[in-house]
């Protein structure tokens, strides 16, 4: 029932948002409820639910929640709650919060779906809802950003659909557990694995399919930009684990060297480019792409340690990018621009904001104690088992990410002040970032709260050697 509830509650909230004036409260309550239900699922066994809604297509409403799903649903709910909380002044509030709730419902549907057809529906709904949010509530460049988001997402979805149809015909079912129990011959796994991956690769901003992500960060308001790594990239990671690695481990292993090469290039390239940006939003976007590429690299390495690391990175990135976005918006608010050339010296004029900003930047680079540190160590350690050279490149990417954080601290927070006085961080900004930072450091200091939930039973069963 919990699996059904985590999807149903935000859908109900969506309807309430449309008809009620208390849209923001309804959306926030939905996020809180979903988060609470997911935490409840983490501590209690939850049975699945089956209802065949499209028998000719071999598709059923089959949902179940396992610890990995529950963990990621908690993250999605937290990021969505953050997004709702930081959307104080938006136009057309009812529609805005309704679509935010729809995005959360879509993400949770992806995370609890045990049927590929249902998974596909959730995935499409998520893409469309994010594209609508960017298109209607974005700033300059929103048209191009939303079109790119839709094109990248839907092009991959087309291939996903082809794979889905062929599986339904060839295997007679879309039940993920049933498909996993009767694995396809190793020699036939590469093609379907790549078809499914085509849907997830743009969402996780795998190089060179990352361009939409940067444009979305620039065009979308901060609250919506946070949903990109928080919801879309997280569910894409989950999709790779559950579908690509879970159903086609041999195929993924065969493609791993090429995929890892793309991910490694992406991690280094994005960090390198991020450190030279003059626009704060582009810096955050490229930094997030670099972290997501590290997660992708670990997923493609395919070892259990690396997969655990990738999931911890996804959580760290979801929380860290959200915090980074709030800080970036606050810095831009003080200097009336997102450009570094027009800001600087906030350490002297707004010390609390500077301190919080420095902490967020350091946490994003994976300093010890942060969630990113635990994720990076696990991801690189797991990758080293099979691809030592890629692990070394990933470690180099960490240094470049530090250069990116140093660039942010140096150009926005440090240095001589540009304005005599700047408003320091208010209670709302401090509280929002403080909660996110607390979560980041709790996961970093006690990573077992996450890694113990990612037991072997929820990870792909076969660890293969190429």
């Amino acid at each position: 029932m919990i699996a059904l509830a985590v999807v149903g509650v935000p859908l109900v909230a969506m309807l309430v948002c449309v008809v009620s004036r208390a849209a923001r409260i309804a959306a926030a309550l939905a996020c809180l409820s979903v988060g609470g239900l997911a935490i409840a699922a983490l501590v209690s066994a939850s049975a699945g639910l089956r209802y065949s809604y499209a028998a000719p297509l071999r598709s059923a409403f089959l949902v179940a929640i396992d610890p990995l799903s529950a963990l990621l649903i908690t993250l999605c709910a937290a990021v969505c709650l953050f997004s709702v909380a930081s959307s104080a002044r938006v136009g057309d509030r009812g529609a805005y919060f309704a679509i935010c709730s729809l995005a959360l419902a879509s993400a949770t549907l992806v995370l609890v779906a045990r049927d590929l057809g249902l998974f596909f529906i959730g995935w499409e709904m998520l893409l469309v809802s994010l594209a609508i949010l960017v298109r209607h509530w974005g700033g300059p460049g929103r048209d191009e950003a939303s079109i790119r988001l839709a094109v990248h997402g839907l092009a991959g979805s087309g291939l996903f659909l082809v794979a889905l149809a062929s599986i339904a015909v060839a295997r007679g079912t879309l039940d993920i557990d049933a498909l996993g129990a009767r694995p396809i011959a190793a020699s036939g796994q590469l093609f379907p694995a790549l078809l499914f991956l085509a849907a997830f690769a743009p969402a996780i901003a795998l190089f060179p399919l990352h361009g939409w992500s940067v444009r979305t960060f620039v065009a979308a308001p901060p609250a919506i930009a946070a949903l990109v790594p928080g919801l879309l990239a997280t569910t894409a990671c989950f999709g790779i684990v559950r579908v690509c690695l879970g159903l086609f481990p041999q195929g993924m292993a065969a493609a791993a060297p090429v995929l890892i090469a793309f991910a490694a290039v992406g991690a280094v390239y994005a960090a390198l480019v991020a450190s030279r940006q003059d626009d704060l939003r582009r810096l955050v976007a490229f930094a997030a792409v670099s972290q997501q590429s590290l997660a992708a690299l670990a997923l493609f390495a395919g070892t259990t340690t690396a997969i655990r690391g990738a999931i911890v990175i996804a959580i760290a990135n979801g929380l860290g990018a959200a915090a980074f976005i709030v800080v970036g918006a606050a810095v831009a608010d003080r200097s009336s621009s997102f450009l570094f050339s027009r800001t600087g010296g906030l350490g002297a004029s707004a010390p609390r904001l500077a301190a919080v900003g420095a902490l967020v930047a350091l946490a994003a680079t994976g300093v010890p104690g942060s969630a990113a540190f635990a994720g990076d160590v696990l991801a690189i350690a797991g990758t080293y088992e099979r691809f030592p050279a890629a692990a070394v490149i990933a470690a180099a990417a960490l240094v470049l990410q530090a250069a990116c954080a140093a660039a942010f601290i140096r150009r926005a927070l440090d240095g001589p002040r540009l304005a005599e006085t700047s408003r320091d961080a208010g209670w709302r900004e401090t509280a929002l970032v403080g909660v996110l930072l607390a979560a980041i450091f709790v996961v970093g200091l006690v990573p077992r709260v996450v890694t113990d939930r990612i037991g072997d039973e929820v990870l792909p069963a076969v660890e293969v050697t190429p």
Binding site: G211, V273, A355, T365, V367, Y384, A395, G415
Partner: protein
């Protein structure tokens, strides 16, 4: 429990200051900031007493941390670690007291939190049982040191220092992480004791030897980057920060030496031997560079830590002794900011280098190089004394007395610990030690005479040394290359990716047009193509 407390007290204090520091009254903040290192020192003294009473090992195991073999939250103290812990905590307590007077009000929270994190991290480096926890402690020290670099200054130069420190620190972290993973692959564990035992018990095959050598080189690079050894000397914090911040940064820099001390048993013998040459060369070049009077304090720090690293090639005993003396001497010199007593900075460096020369008396070549460095430092100290301002304040005097007391206390504790209940292996032999000491004293005397006379080191030689130790051209060149590469990567890749996507889209459109033309405009032709493609996929699946 005592061992856990030693790490937990500064960590909790740092978190407390970070969370509530800005809202706390200065008195409360100062109390927390100074009480934490003081309590930590007390805890470590209690540990030392138990070791002096005969304990040989203390382990605190808090359970699994990361799901990797041997990566637990476990601390382990053995006799060689005790003097290091004492030195770190005693120095930190001294710096905290100095910060009360020295640090500007607007940077109180940052200074105290940074110092507490450095202490916690350094203690983790000294006591970590496995390499992954060591990486965490090392990284914590590096990040905290970067935050403190440049002190409270908001100048562009201080901002640059902080940025360079952070990147250099993370470079060291990355090297150490890869080395730890290489060790994990090689020995199937990250437990330092188990690695040392296995290394002693088995003969590694040639490929494994190469892997171990590579891992050892990475560890040395990590230590060099943190301690400002060649070629990383220019990355150290600048001297324009408050002295207490520079002292705290020195404590952070010492974590490179602590890292080498902890991993010495797991290093490849060739790599371990190379540390002698690296350390001695750093000491000599950095001592010469400190004469140039620009970035003098970072250069001195590099010189002293270079001496400590050089001592590692002689024995663990020598390295521990020199590290303890270096930390004490450096701190004593730095927290004595009175213009009249500024010579104490140079003098403390001279003392530490002289001790290193004595400790290495069994290695003539290294001793000779270190004595030359001692002479250069003595020259600089004497010249500094001659040019010191004549006036001083009561505060400066109090700090200087405090510094001297700290130096004396730390030296007494170190001497007592090393020579008393804590056996650290072979001590230097008396005759050679005496002769080296005599030589060192002669060098110091010579340097002093030279410094107070009208003799001057040729300006060009000092400039060359400064350029070598700071590698300004190399650093600037690297930064320029980095910027250019980033620019090319951004513009080039954006262009390539954009054009590629447009080309793909154009091809798709033209393919559609071609198919329409081929099918004479009939819609059924496109549908047939789509069905055929889907059928092909289905056929592929069925065939498999």
């Amino acid at each position: 429990m005592t061992l856990v407390l030693a790490v937990a007290i500064p960590l909790v204090a740092a978190i407390l200051i970070l969370v509530a520091g800005a809202r706390l009254p200065r008195l409360v903040l100062a109390l927390i900031g100074t009480a934490a290192p003081a309590f930590t020192l007390g805890t470590v003294v209690a540990l030392a007493q138990s070791f002096a009473a005969g304990k040989t090992e203390l382990i605190a195991d808090l359970g699994p941390w990361l799901p990797l073999r041997g990566a637990d939250l476990a601390l382990r103290v053995d006799p060689p670690a005790v003097p290091l812990m004492l030195a770190v905590t005693a120095v930190a307590a001294l710096i905290a007291i100095a910060m009360l007077v020295d640090a500007p009000r607007d940077s109180d929270a940052r200074s105290f939190a940074g110092l507490a994190l450095i202490v916690a991290g350094a203690l983790v480096v000294v006591t970590a049982r496995d390499l992954i926890l060591l990486v965490a402690g090392f990284g914590m020290v590096g990040a905290s040191g970067a935050v403190l670099a440049g002190g409270a200054s908001w100048s562009a130069e201080a901002a640059r220092d902080r940025a360079v420190s952070l990147v250099t620190a993370r470079l060291g972290d990355a090297c150490l992480l890869v080395a730890a993973l290489a060790a994990l692959a090689l020995f199937q564990t990250v437990d330092l004791q188990q690695i040392s035992d296995r290394l002693a018990a088995i003969d590694l095959a040639a490929p494994a030897q190469n892997a171990l050598l590579a891992a050892s080189v990475l560890i040395i690079i990590a230590a060099a980057s943190r301690s400002g050894l060649l070629p990383f000397s220019g990355a150290s914090a600048d001297g324009h920060a408050p002295a207490s911040s520079v002292a705290a940064a020195t404590l952070a820099s010492a974590s490179g030496v602590l890292l080498l001390l902890r991993t010495a048993g797991a290093l490849h013998p060739s790599a371990l031997a190379s540390t002698g040459a690296l350390g001695a060369a750093t000491a000599l070049v950095a001592s010469a560079a400190s004469l140039a009077a620009v970035r003098r304090e970072p250069s001195r720090t590099s010189a002293l830590l270079g001496a400590a690293v050089a001592a590692l090639s002689a024995s663990l005993f020598a390295a521990t002794l020199v590290t303890v003396v270096v930390l004490s001497a450096r701190t004593a010199g730095l927290v004595a900011p009175a213009p009249r007593l500024r010579w104490l900075r140079g003098a403390s460096a001279v003392v530490a280098l002289a001790v290193a020369s004595v400790a290495l008396s069994d290695h003539p070549a290294t001793t000779t190089v270190l004595l030359a460095a001692t002479a250069l430092e003595a020259f600089g100290a004497a010249r500094e004394a001659r040019t010191s301002a004549p006036d001083g304040t009561r505060r400066d005097l109090a700090l200087s007395v405090l510094a001297a007391t700290g130096l004396g206390a730390a030296t007494v504790v170190a001497a007592g610990a090393l020579g008393g209940g804590l056996s650290l292996g072979s001590a230097p032999t008396a005759p050679s030690g005496t002769s080296a000491l005599v030589l060192a004293l002669v060098a110091v005397l010579g340097g002093t005479i030279a410094g107070t006379s009208r003799l001057r080191l040729p300006a060009r030689a000092a400039a060359v040394s400064r350029a070598v130790v700071q590698l300004d051209a190399l650093r600037d060149g690297t930064a320029r290359s980095f910027a250019s590469a980033a620019l090319i990567a951004e513009r080039g890749s954006d262009l390539v990716v954009e054009r590629t996507l447009h080309a793909v889209a154009r091809i798709a459109v033209r393919a559609g047009e071609a198919s329409r033309a081929f099918g004479a405009g009939s819609a059924w032709a496109q549908e047939a193509l789509l069905i055929a493609a889907t059928a092909a996929v289905v056929a592929y699946w069925i065939a498999r």
